[in-house]
């Protein structure tokens, strides 16, 4: 699940490469020919495959975006994983475990896709663990009641699907193919999340209160998942030119709002925005101001759970070092024994 629709600069990137505003270096004649070929492929809506020539900035942007996406999958296991032990029925427990397991699998697809660009999983994880690489801001918010699990399915996965469906047509083949597989599983989870909320909204007063409380806490964070307004998103134009991004942040956000409002109505919850209303002239919903200061604070490490999330990942990695070393040592011994037998 869960990419942010944009790729936010990683901590390690310098301002130039982060914004991709660097003036392209003067191209050699050969590079110019390759660049022209690449541009033509993009213009024809073709796919770029791992062994083909691509501009360095394109490669770098994709590594950043796909690895952020992969990190988001695995950090995203934590807020929902938080409720596995307490899921209130065995059916919901099984659904939740299956979902979190799928997220681990999505992480694996995405690390593999990123590796086709010449990076390694260890390098990417090192960047995550040292705080250089980002992951989706949404996972820095806590899951405080059981309805959060349903709301994460409905709204967070819903926003992620809006982001990811256009990525199925992304110009980089391995990423596009990973997204096709991810979206299939994701849509299923989203419906299950919504269904869990429907059941709660037909239940006791306390259950209804839980759902409304969860919607109130997650709504604005989900809108922010689509990234900064188009006017403040200089990466977007380049992403569009490269066929990585297909629909702008604001357009995706609008689509999400328009799709979600009727779902909220069916559910019987209100969305916490007094400015939210149908605009007849635009044939779309108007909505209020997103708190971008809070969004950037969270992206930059100062959200409510940033330290706990990263701390849990780093601890898992450090505590697991001996396990990985054992597996390697055993594999080497096996190999040595096989060589000896063969000799």
């Amino acid at each position: 699940m869960y990419t942010q629709s944009f790729s936010v600069p990683d901590g390690s990137d310098d301002a130039k490469s982060a914004g991709l505003k660097a003036v392209p270096k003067a191209l050699s004649a050969q590079d110019a020919a390759l660049q022209a070929q690449f541009d033509a492929r993009i213009d024809a809506d073709g796919r770029i495959e791992p062994r083909e020539w691509m501009p360095e900035a394109y490669r770098k942007t994709l590594v950043r975006q796909i690895s952020q996406h992969a990190h988001s999958e695995i950090v995203g296991m934590l807020p929902e994983g938080n409720w596995i032990s307490r899921a209130p029925s065995l059916k919901r427990k099984a659904i939740l475990i299956a979902k979190v397991q799928d997220e681990g699998g999505h992480g694996l697809y995405l690390y593999s896709a990123a590796e086709t660009l010449g990076t390694s999983r260890d390098q990417m994880l090192d960047a995550l663990h040292t705080g250089k690489a980002k992951y989706s801001s949404i996972f820095n918010y806590p899951t405080l009641n059981w309805a959060d699990v349903g709301v994460v399915g409905w709204l967070v996965d819903g926003a992620a699907i809006m982001n990811q469906v256009p990525l199925c047509r992304c110009s980089y083949g391995p990423y596009a193919r990973a997204m096709v597989r991810v979206c299939k599983e994701e849509s299923f989870h989203q419906r299950q999340g919504y269904e869990a909320l429907l059941v709660m909204m037909q239940g006791t007063a306390e259950q209804k209160t839980m759902v409304q409380d969860a919607v109130n806490r997650w709504w604005w964070k989900c809108l922010a998942m689509f990234g900064p307004p188009d006017a403040d998103s200089p990466n977007s134009a380049q992403g569009m030119r490269w066929g990585i991004k297909r629909i702008s942040n604001d357009d995706l956000r609008q689509k999400f709002v328009d799709a979600t409002v009727p779902q909220a109505k069916v559910l019987g919850v209100t969305l916490p925005d007094p400015d939210l209303k149908w605009n007849e002239a635009r044939q779309a919903h108007d909505y209020g101001q997103i708190d971008w200061d809070e969004f950037w604070a969270t992206v930059n490490g100062n959200g409510p759970c940033n330290k706990e999330r990263l701390g849990a990942r780093v601890k898992a990695w450090n505590d697991g070092a001996w396990v990985r070393e054992a597996a390697l040592a055993h594999a080497k011994k096996q190999q040595a024994r096989q060589m000896k037998e063969a000799a």
Binding site: R86, A316, R324, E325, L328
Partner: protein, 260 residues
């Protein structure tokens, strides 16, 4: 012919409590593949527990469901092996928050799966047709669990000096708990008498063979099982189960009227 309810609950509680424990690794594994593997194992076990509880609930009647059995019974009502409820860490007095030691987890899964491949295989012939069908499904899953835990047991035992020590420590810690496998509870005796259950003592040689072969390959020493013989399947547990249930049941018990 139906198996005694307490016997079904024993099988179900084993699966649920161990499933609950293995899910504690979700997001915290030593490598992403193991987050997935342990969640997968947990999901299988919870699936087995659900089938067994549903069968038990139907026999029990009185509005019992899989969820009333999982969420509204207390410690003495649970009939799982004590082995299944112990935390993933060196033994110490219970607290609700535990650390996670991968060797402990793997050794426990190995000892339990080595038993359950034999149990489910035999129970396919249970005179309780429903239980026989559940056994057939569960056998396929537990073979997979055994392969996973056995592979890791060998990797750890025949890996580094550190991993060897950790695996040996976990084995030393858990072996005496396996004594409970070979005792006979009243529920097991009743199930055996009706042909719905099996003779556990008769599985001991096969279990020893599975365990000893794996330990040899893993270059681990089999500790003598001795000392206290646990009694979890009779409802007398360790101090750990209370915390597992307090956490697992908290939400369901706070809203007993709710459906989810």
């Amino acid at each position: 012919m139906n198996a005694p309810i307490d016997y079904l609950l024993h099988l179900a509680d084993n699966a649920l409590i161990l499933g609950q424990r293995n899910a504690e690794w979700c997001g915290h594994g030593p490598i992403l593949e193991e987050d997935i593997a342990l969640s997968n194992n947990s999901l299988d076990l919870i699936g087995q527990a659900r089938m067994l509880y549903q069968h038990a609930a139907e026999l029990q009647g009185n509005g019992a469901t899989e969820d009333t059995l999982a969420y509204f019974r207390d410690v003495p009502d649970f009939k799982n092996y004590t082995l299944c409820e112990l935390p993933h860490m060196p033994l110490m007095a219970a607290t609700s928050a535990g650390d996670r030691d991968f060797a402990t987890t793997i050794v426990r899964n190995f000892l339990y799966s080595s038993l359950m491949v034999l149990v489910w295989d035999q129970l396919q012939n249970s005179k309780d047709a429903q239980l026989a069908a559940i056994a057939a499904k569960s056998l396929k899953e537990v073979r997979y669990h055994l392969r996973h835990s056995r592979d890791w047991l060998v990797r750890m035992g025949d890996g580094t000096a550190e991993s060897h020590t950790k695996a040996q420590t976990a084995l030393d810690q858990f072996m005496s708990y396996t004594q409970e496998f070979w005792t006979t509870s009243p529920a097991e005796a009743a199930a055996l008498a009706t042909g719905t259950g099996i003779d556990m003592a008769a599985l001991q040689n096969d279990w020893n063979q599975i365990v000893n072969e794996a330990l040899k390959e893993a270059t681990l020493q089999r500790p003598a099982a001795g000392g206290f013989v646990p009694t979890g399947k009779q409802g007398l547990h360790s101090e750990h189960l209370g915390f597992v249930l307090a956490e697992m049941q908290s939400l369901a018990r706070a809203h007993p009227e709710a459906t989810w």
